[in-house]
Symmetry: C2
Subunit: 223 residues, 2 copies
């Protein structure tokens, strides 16, 4: 269900290229799930924000759970294609690549997926954070399905450019790197609070200049 809406693909996101209701529902779901969490979000609110009848959501997605997965699937495929492309480009070099661009390739597509939608305050990034940290069945399965494969690619890349890493340590390195990245994606505003405004977790580019050296140095400590 949902693949029949492959119509009018072409160049979307162009100005206000009229979007299908199907996609409008997914966009709305992204915003509402991000603000209220899975249980806190209501089908009614998602429908209202998308400007459709509530029944239409059930027509397209059957259940709330399927809707949630469809929303995660759409965005994570986009992100992980970007990640894979960047990583492949780096590894295709002649000499051994640096660790730094690899770590950057891990985060930049997520950031860009956040801002492209503008005005949503990085809604999907927030969903990512809570999904990744959840120990619940449903969310773990989504992580496994959509994020474990690309994770393995980055873990292998870590081992390739830092030969001192055991496989176990490369896995820890990946987990820790993601943990640090959460700080940026959660957008809690806490850095600003703790620093009297010196730090701003809304500025992803500035954060990356701190995060990348932090993680790379941390990884090298595990070699």
């Amino acid at each position: 269900m949902g693949q029949k809406n492959a119509k009018t693909v072409g160049v979307e996101s162009l100005s206000s290229a009229k979007e299908s209701r199907f996609d409008a529902i997914l966009d709305s779901a992204e915003t509402v799930f991000a603000r209220s969490g899975y249980e806190g979000a209501t089908m009614r609110e998602i429908a209202e924000r998308a400007g459709v009848a509530q029944g239409l959501i059930h027509y397209h997605f059957k259940t709330k759970e399927v809707l949630f997965e469809a929303m995660v699937s759409r965005r994570s495929q986009q992100i992980n294609e970007g990640r894979a492309a960047l990583l492949d480009g780096i590894l295709k070099q002649d000499q051994t690549p640096d660790l730094e661009p690899i770590v950057e390739a891990l985060f930049r597509p997520t950031i860009e997926a956040g801002i492209s939608q503008a005005s949503d305050g990085g809604a999907f990034a927030k969903i990512l954070v809570s999904t990744a940290n959840s120990a619940s069945e449903r969310e773990q399965l989504l992580t496994q399905k959509y994020y474990d494969p690309i994770a393995q690619k980055f873990i292998s890349a870590f081992m390739q450019v830092e030969p001192g890493l055991t496989r176990a340590n490369a896995v820890w390195a990946y987990m820790f790197a993601i943990g640090v990245g959460m700080t940026m994606m959660a957008k809690t505003g806490r850095p600003a609070r703790l620093s009297d405004g010196l730090c701003d977790d809304g500025d992803a580019d500035e954060m990356l200049t701190k995060i990348v050296p932090f993680i790379c140095s941390g990884i090298r400590a595990l070699t």
Copy 2:
């Protein structure tokens, strides 16, 4: 509300020292909130698991929100007293202390609060993770109230033992350190999945031997 139950404090947690219903409710809330999240948890389930009538929860805590805060408050005070004690002990030395024990002091009390209850699978740690990462009003206020003060102490300690750190970078260092710690506290089982069983996020002590060098090296990269 709740402080009138300071009765029979003494040595609790001893075998099955009969616990007050008040505390039984908080314990139950910890487990249920950890598994289902704030919205997903129901007062009915918390009451059943605690073996009391649902009305009793409202008698003691009035609302779900107050119950949640009471549960966070109890455990976080215990954790942060442990953290402060360890940190003060370290800073009281004559010569300049190392960064390593400070970072360890950040995490050990949380871990121990998790295991002491046994069998709950680190329920409170999971709540901590989702609370810290949430951008919602309610959870941000709790973080601010119960965790920002101790965070400032650790940020100052970072600057004291690593004089090259600016205040802004010390704040980032703290945020990143917490981010890495999430990996350990969330207990998602993902490390085991990604490593075919080589890594185990259930073994907090083993994780600490990886986390502490990772974070310390990362922090020093910011100097």
